[in-house]
Symmetry: C2
Subunit: 288 residues, 2 copies
Amino acid sequence: MDADARIEARLHAAIERAGGKGCPPRFSEALAYAVFPGGARVRPQLLLAVAAACGDPAPDLADSAAAALELLHCASLVHDDLPAFDDASLRRGKPTVHAVFGQPLAILTGDALIALAFETIAVARAPDPSRLPALTALIARSIGAPNGISAGQAWESEPAIPLEQYHRAKTGALFVAATMGGALVAGGNPERWRTLGQKIGEAYQIADDIMDAAGGGEAGKGAGKDAQLCRPNCVHELGMDGAIGRLKARVSEAVASIPNVNGADRLRQIVTAQAHRLVPKNIAVPAE
Amino acid sequence: MDADARIEARLHAAIERAGGKGCPPRFSEALAYAVFPGGARVRPQLLLAVAAACGDPAPDLADSAAAALELLHCASLVHDDLPAFDDASLRRGKPTVHAVFGQPLAILTGDALIALAFETIAVARAPDPSRLPALTALIARSIGAPNGISAGQAWESEPAIPLEQYHRAKTGALFVAATMGGALVAGGNPERWRTLGQKIGEAYQIADDIMDAAGGGEAGKGAGKDAQLCRPNCVHELGMDGAIGRLKARVSEAVASIPNVNGADRLRQIVTAQAHRLVPKNIAVPAE
């Protein structure tokens, strides 16, 4: 199976378990609606790519870790779209979870997807049982406090936002969990893979800012949402050319940080190819 | 250290970690506010009591599991108090998290406490590493879907609520996690402890209904909130005497279900004593 099929299969199994016997029917629908059809599944793809570069000796665990990351990403999107945050009516081109199912089920969907992510890891087959708690701790930190997604988002409620720290927590943390998690499940040394996740996270954030300024983006959130919500955006700071230059630099640094494992060449190609897809062709191609 | 001190110490350590370096200052405050000062810490007390009845051979793991349950309970209260659900302004006699910190931080506080609970388990010292994933799976199911707290709460968004299933998921699941988790951390057989958790959960739900009908309750939610929100309440169904009779029956069944471990006598005393405290003396004493 290719990476896409592995990710979707594990996500389907998880959502079927959560929405199965005993689940309130509308809640079951909401859980599936929040996860399918997916976006680019960038984070689980990255985790599997790193695991593959390390030889992928524990594919079942890698699939579970990848699915867990995507469930957490989906949870964060569902909560982020709520009226208390972005008040978004569209996500990936369709109505948001709260727009369809109401705010109570949207809040509960996020909560249940977080629980499901940890359950998915906990029931994975691991060649060494100590990898499961290590992975759980890594992933829990990437979504919690002080430096995970929740903390990143919480900066929006402070009088001043430290821009770098905000992006590192809100966007970068899950990319770092992807690269370090990919190494961890494959028995590698997670610390050697931290920079790759950080740099890709930064590139992704810059691409998101570019897409917002130009209109479009993963969220399908519509042009200029950041300006409208007084959110920091590096295009406002550097101009479009400056932002594209910074994006290229981050991708170069990401590629350069890849440790010399057997599958490093293939991973470098994947990261470079993904970077080309970050920004639509009519804006710029961040080629290296 | 007694159980109270063990629980508070582990909760303080967890909240200090989450609210530490890098955490947005108001978010750090909100996390602590949601957890301290606590209520009766009923669920972690129950977990530690079961672990003690089983000999408590792994106290560090027991403390972490107990703290994790309380963090999850606090998370569920913070989300449950939101305007989308109970719209409560008071909890344990003080303003709710969203009343003080706003809805965005309240939603994020719940999310981060869930993550923190799983991190707390993941970093615990376990005599056998396979106990950590088993505990993680047990606890994740107790808060997620199809049969955990989120699913229980989600029944409130359905056109009809199956009363027993609703209470079992919304209130009972975390009590079952407490008794089964207490056995699991101590190397016992969790399945033998399921009934105890279920019966205590049912007793607790009935007590909550009684308190709501009479005014008061753990939530300090004010009298008649269930009637006001059209929530099912067994006092409406059975009358006050009938509800008290059912509460006594559940406590008896709970005590009778305790497996014959070395510490069973002491645990029977604890469960009976706790049951006396479920309902204020001016209503009734559910003595056995």
